[in-house]
Amino acid sequence: MLKNTINGLDKILFVEIPKGSVILVTGAEGTLKSGLVFSMMANHVADNNEHGLYVTLEQNKESHLRNMNSLGIKKESNLHIFDYQDMRLEWMNSELDLITMTEEVIDSYKDKYDNLTLFALDSLNALYSISEYGNMRNRIYNFFTHLRDEGFISFLIMESAQSRIAGQISQFYQTERFLADGTIELGMIEGKGGVKRYIQILKMRATKHAMEKHQITIGDNGINILGPIY
């Protein structure tokens, strides 16, 4: 259902991602993580009678939409954005359990829209930074299970501690990588022609995909995936 949502995505994703998959989208800052996910979701719901939910913990809705607009990505009416700004400001003296709350938010949207098929959380890092760490491994396992049980394709955006220029992958967040059904890595690589952005599918269970790094660019028509980059 997502293979044709981005120009050139079919160069790296040969078949559709199964429903119920939980996919990590990782990379350093400025590597188009949010743009890629939002673009896939917006383009999918634009062509289908389905709904998507994009939960942002890092920015408020208006700021996120401004960023997406600057990338040429338009929000569709059936792509819903939920931000935690109001909740966090109004309940600043209370301890909020954001994992449970995110599950409740998903359930609320699912109650309202029967055909909610896509979910994204931007980002896992923000979720961790404002959550209690106690028993986090179990909680994240249960959260992943909840997402799978809902049956939609979920994207969890995670900023890696990887350097801007391709370097060693951080040892952090290994649990999430292990639990996820797929990992898409975005990064930057320096070559003779300057710095280029790349996309690489490191893992995608039950889905045939390319292994090479491919160049990813932003044009007037949004995000494009070009040929392999070395």
Binding site: H80, M87, L89, E90, W91, M92, L96, M101, S108
Partner: protein
């Protein structure tokens, strides 16, 4: 489903028995109606609504179940949202004319449904 104190049954009287369990479930499942009911008299934030329903009904609606409904109702044009003067931390919601009409109808229909259920149970369908 009037909002003035003298017309609202004291739900705390149910506390001691099994009724509390059913009241809790009914209010949570129909929280949108109760939220709109709270907004009939004055503008309120998500925080205010949760507190008001808790104090009037002794039912705590968690934040993750209330804010998505506020955002959806705003998107549908049934609620208007604005930040309080001098307090950018609190977004206050009020019913639009269309929202007020929808709220009044929902509240009336909800009350009728409860009466209908009560009647069906007593009659022994």
């Amino acid at each position: 489903m009037k909002t003035s104190d003298e017309n609202v049954p004291d739900l705390c009287e149910f506390q001691e028995d099994n009724c509390k369990k059913f009241v809790d479930k009914i209010i949570k499942a129909n929280r949108g109606v109760f939220m709109m009911n709270s907004l009939l008299e004055k503008q309120m934030s998500g925080y205010d609504i949760i507190k008001e329903i808790f104090s009037r009904c002794d039912v705590f609606l968690s934040q993750g179940t209330v804010y998505p409904i506020l955002y959806a109702l705003e998107e549908e044009g049934l609620l208007h949202a604005e930040y309080s003067k001098g307090d950018m931390r609190s977004k206050k919601y009020s019913l639009t004319p269309r929202g007020r009409a929808a709220a009044e109808k929902d509240i009336e229909d909800f009350a009728k449904s409860l009466e209908q259920i009560s009647f069906l149970l007593k009659r022994g369908y």
